[in-house]
Amino acid sequence: MRLLQVAELPPHSASTVRIPIQGAALCAGFPSPADDFLEGALELPRWLAPNPPATFAWNISGDSMRGAGIFDRDLAVADRSLEPGNGSVVVAIVDGTMSVKRLVLEGNVARLAFDNPDLPAFAVEDLVEGEIWGVIRFSIRWHVARAGLVR
């Protein structure tokens, strides 16, 4: 039998941030209906996630971004405060679906590209209808089974 040590929660150290900052969730006017449902935020260190309110984690499904080192079942972290530029890996809305692609800017044409030698170069030839949701700051790859992830 394994004994789990349940200690006090670590105090907020300067090197750990919560996403988002669970500040005083106390409302001066109305008691928050969310009060009974609040959960601890997913914690990332400040050097990985410098802007917690704009940081969101995504599950990745599919292999079209292997060239960027992003694989099926990886986890990618988007920072919505980053400005997308030429070559940025982005979460974008394509045909009503969230997808991860590489942004290619040439002159005033924006395109979304796959990053996989087995696939055609471009997913979206002209990004007029599409919308960029956020810029991927980094991704995480599991080298053991993901099952049983506990916060």
Partner: protein, 430 residues
């Protein structure tokens, strides 16, 4: 420089939170339902255009929603609470003083911003919140909270404002106050509105120009205060520190009607467990626990019963086990088997305290002292487990395991907890 308060709030906040993670919800009508999927409590502009009203019971609009393609969600308070914390984190980058007024509204002190820069700052704030969190907002600015709230209403309803209205600007102030109905003023309810119409008050400007003293007679000191606030004299300060709680209640409607004593006992034990968590978070204790349970006023023709009783503890405590004992004593004292073969079908139960005090200041009992020295570490361990492994990971047996409760609030159409659960993150296709 003059005093300036901004009120910023999320547009159709709960619906907007759902839209951030699901692009298929863009430009389609979306509504969010209250606890137990009872009534509509948030609607997008598209849903409002279909005539769906705030508070419409879902069973009455279910067919219309199906026909008109309205996307319907149970409330996902975990998500809304997290998105609310994110927006407030952005607000704090823009103002040194932020009062979180409700889950989707905050007051910001902008007094240090030069008059002519306020609208620019408000537009920058809106754009930043939209970019960083995905939530669309509106900003109203005024010299008082009441005027900020009014400005927010104008920003929201007049498309030309583009989401920002500044009533610290004398031109805008003179323009809008004689054009907006007095019904839109913060704090004017149905009763006061009828009285004001009787006095010949029609617009906000009419109310502002009333003599406050006679109004005090008709509408109490609150009405008088509104008049001064509309004149730009601040009567309501920003509340940056939440006031010390005097009372605390945990009440829930059951997802089904309850007739058995064991189930009721489990429910009040679960409510008492939640009450204990809330008290411990504030370092508070209580000496009285009131328990109530009742049948539903909607069950016409069924036997009715409403019960409330107060149990006194020997001394102040926030020990969940002591609170459960008290709550169950309340049930034991009041439970009756129904005469005849028609049992009472209870729809709601709750535990309430009204005499909260700081536990470390509370006097100790001479007789019947509770064992605080042992209970405090036990409660701390339970709270630590629940913080680490999720709500309800460790519960007192009397409260029942969360997933085995048959009476818990229903959230049948709830979206994933996209931002707080590793197992429920949104998926992007590569």
């Amino acid at each position: 420089m003059s005093r300036a308060i901004a009120l910023i709030d999320g547009n159709s906040f709960y619906c907007s939170c759902e839209r951030v993670f699901d692009p298929k919800l863009a430009r389609v009508p979306v509504i969010v339902l209250s606890n137990n999927d009872g009534c509509a409590i948030a609607r997008t502009a598209e849903a409002k255009a279909l005539g769906i009203k705030m508070g419409d019971p879902f069973f009455k609009i279910r067919e219309q929603c199906r026909r008109d393609g309205v996307r319907v969600f149970s409330s996902n308070y975990t998500l809304y609470g997290d998105m609310s914390a994110r927006t407030n984190a952005v607000y704090r980058d823009f103002s040194p003083a932020v009062e979180i007024y409700s889950i989707d509204e905050s007051f910001l002190d902008l007094s240090d911003v030069r008059d002519r820069d306020r609208v620019t700052l408000a537009r920058d704030l809106r754009a930043t919140v939209r970019a960083w969190t995905g939530i669309p907002t509106c900003v109203g600015i005024g010299p008082t909270k009441t005027l900020a709230k009014l400005a927010n209403h104008i920003a929201k309803t007049i498309p030309d404002c583009d989401g920002v209205c500044d009533l610290t600007d004398p031109v805008a102030y003179d323009h809008w106050l004689c054009r907006v109905s007095v019904a839109e003023v913060w704090g004017i309810g149905r009763a006061s509105l009828a009285k004001l119409i009787g006095l010949g008050v029609d617009t906000v400007a009419d109310l502002r120009d009333l003599d406050p003293r006679p109004v005090r007679k008709a509408m109490t000191v609150v009405g008088e205060r509104i008049i001064y606030e509309l004149r730009g004299l601040a009567c309501l300060p920003l509340e940056l520190m939440p006031a010390q709680r005097k009372g605390c209640a945990v009440t829930r409607s059951f997802s089904r009607r309850i007739t058995e004593r064991e189930t009721l006992e489990q429910a009040v034990a679960a409510h008492a467990t939640r009450l204990g968590e809330k008290l411990r978070r504030g370092g508070l204790g209580t000496t009285h626990v009131s328990v109530f349970y009742h049948t539903s006023e909607h069950d016409r023709g069924d036997p009715m019963r409403s019960v409330s009783t107060t149990v006194t503890l020997p001394e102040a405590t926030n020990d969940t086990l002591a609170l459960i004992k008290a709550a169950q004593a309340g049930v034991a004292r009041t439970w009756r088997e129904a005469p005849g073969d028609r049992p009472w079908r209870y729809s709601k139960a709750g535990v309430v305290t009204t005499d909260l005090m700081a536990l470390d200041m509370a006097p100790r009992a001479l007789i019947g002292q509770l064992d605080r020295e042992r209970s405090a570490p036990l409660m701390a361990a339970m709270d630590a487990c629940n913080a680490r492994f999720g709500r309800g990971a460790v519960v007192p047996a009397r409260a029942g395991l969360t997933e085995k409760r048959t009476w818990s609030t229903k959230f049948e159409m709830r979206s994933p907890r996209y931002t707080t659960q590793v197992t429920e993150l949104p998926t992007a296709h590569a």
